[in-house]
Symmetry: C2
Subunit: 365 residues, 2 copies
């Protein structure tokens, strides 16, 4: 991508955080603490985190994608130790006897857009512009690398006490999710996750490129609109090849916690009552938007809420009665819409066996 | 020990299983499936599992203690894959680049007296006569190696699908217990555990010696008494330097499941009503025996129930109204009764902060 992000300094953090909120589609966790930590470590490590393209890596380069696993609600309250992710990377290197040359982002949506930055700085490695989800997803097997058949092992989970577990053999990516989820809960609700570790050639095949740049651009658009007194929703939608699905007021929220996920449904009424209500189902992330009997947008396409006044992305944990929002529909990256990918991240994977994924109007896939 | 067990064949399995039941002190899990598996693998691997003394190992020898972690109730129902423990040993060897030369028993009480046998056969390694608990205990840090300061890492947990997790860094043995317990539950309620892996010198310092031979002897005593029509309780007590605390009928059982443990209390009335009732509290294992306001025996000393008719050891999951039993009190190995050890395995560690451990009459510690 021309004009892509080549380095991260403190000046870029705010925009990346806001843009990652948009790509979080209601989930992915708060970027608030992550932005503070990224600034702290940028100050400690010389102020600059280099960013490279995956295409600049040789095929043999050892690379990994990293993230913090855990419930978004925990991420709001529990401060990180700060070196969980880099310790987990080091444990992987010791276990395998190989050395990483760059750090990838596993999930660009929400807080995990920022959690790799301290690790890259501490390890003295560049960050790769791109990620393996293209948005936020609730489970770790919903990842283009694993969808593409890259094995989840060996992967490493590290806690805030410096404790490290290495999963060496796992029969399926879903098993990786189950075991890691369970241990993460015991580790206090959040844990550093290093996986998949792979090579440049494999990452070139599967990574969704330039999503770090995308988050930075979307954030900048919102910041500029705020400065100019414009409504950001229209501009953000255009930059992400999407459109505004609805504008209105949240009039009802039903939410319950099921197996660690925030599942629920919200109803949004138009401000002039001229339109039928919009109903959005969510499981951490917004999954499906319905008006009357018409399905307007489904996962993996992105359904994001921005507040009307500030263009602030709204997480599903923060939605409440009375909030005025624009609802954006944005096409997911093409890597998420293959037949194979849809089996892992389409409506059926989220408990809607009867809903077929339909591309958004104008999306050529 | 003179005349110790030097090899295990099918002929020894029944006695070891019965004796391990006595040393299980009500817990440690059933030996039923473990005895079947040991016989199956003995047949498959030439019929003989060699047994050595820890004192026959050089100080530099790499050795480990192995067991199956999980709830006793699960162990009754869930068949093992059969190679979980040896796969976990192999994963440890790959991770560290070291090679084991002998297999130790982590817990001689209950099913874990038998679970190392298939692993030793599959790996072609001798079994060490001894263990690191001297009985059964509910948690993995209640182990003479960890009580003696041997670190719990790296330890390996393996499930029945061949999945393997290596815990590389852990700050405390209690953390090992928490993380392993949690992952074991997700692994279906039972998992192969390889820990601690150490050297001959360390194992010589901490292992409780000859407990495999002891379980075999106690089992043989019971089998001989059955054949001769004698009551085994008296003979077993004498062989274990203990005595019969009570003979009677279980008249009440109160049991509840708390955090995966079977906690409860039983009352036993004497058969001729000539004595005050005996009350035994248990948490998987029998913990404390009280008559009136007098504490007769406490953990770590062994409180074991044998049926009056057959001398069959009775697990706390099998106690029921009407069962006629002899209650045996047997002194714990001296390694469990040091001040340091009592902090981990004395009454206070089981929720009795006001009960001091008192040696049994005649026990010189």
């Amino acid at each position: 991508m021309n004009g892509g992000l080549r380095r991260i300094t403190e000046a870029e953090i705010e925009a990346i955080a806001i843009g990652a909120g948009v790509l979080g589609t209601g989930g992915g966790g708060s970027t608030y603490l992550g932005a503070i930590e990224a600034r702290v470590y940028l100050r400690e490590y010389g102020g600059v985190c280099p960013v490279i393209s995956v295409d600049e890596l040789v095929d043999e380069a050892i690379v990994c994608t990293v993230s913090v696993m855990g419930a978004p609600t925990v991420g709001v309250e529990k401060m990180a130790r700060g070196d969980e992710v880099s310790l987990a990377c080091r444990a992987w290197e010791e276990h395998t006897g190989k050395q990483m040359v760059a750090i990838g982002i596993a999930e660009i949506g929400g807080g995990n857009a920022l959690s790799p930055i301290p690790a890259a700085l501490q390890l003295g490695l560049p960050l790769i512009d791109g990620d393996s989800m293209g948005r936020a997803f609730p489970e770790l097997q919903m990842d283009t690398l694993m969808i593409g058949g890259v094995p989840p092992v060996p992967f490493v989970l590290g806690d805030c006490h410096g404790n490290v577990a290495i999963f060496n053999e796992l029969d399926t990516p879903k098993r990786a999710e189950e075991y890691a989820r369970n241990l993460t809960i015991e580790m206090g609700g959040s844990a550093a996750l290093v996986m998949p570790v792979t090579d440049g050639a494999t990452l070139k095949r599967h990574l969704i490129r330039d999503t770090l740049t995308l988050s930075w651009r979307l954030g900048n658009i919102i910041l500029e609109c705020r400065a100019n007194g414009e409504d950001p929703a229209e501009h953000v939608a255009a930059a992400a090849n999407g459109f505004i699905l609805y504008r209105g007021k949240i009039v009802d929220v039903f939410r319950r916690t099921v197996k660690g996920f925030a599942r629920g449904r919200m109803r949004i009424a138009s401000l002039d009552h001229g339109q039928e209500e919009l109903v959005i189902d969510f499981q951490n992330e917004n999954l499906i938007a319905v008006q009357g009997d018409q399905i307007l947008c489904t996962v993996p396409d992105l359904i994001s809420l921005l507040t009307l006044e500030e263009g602030e992305p709204v997480g599903t944990e923060a939605i409440r009665y009375g909030l005025r929002v624009a609802v954006l529909a944005m096409p997911a990256p093409k890597e998420l819409k293959t037949t194979t990918a849809l089996a892992s991240v389409g409506p059926a994977a989220f408990g809607y066996p009867d809903v077929a994924f339909q591309a958004l109007p104008g999306d050529l896939l």
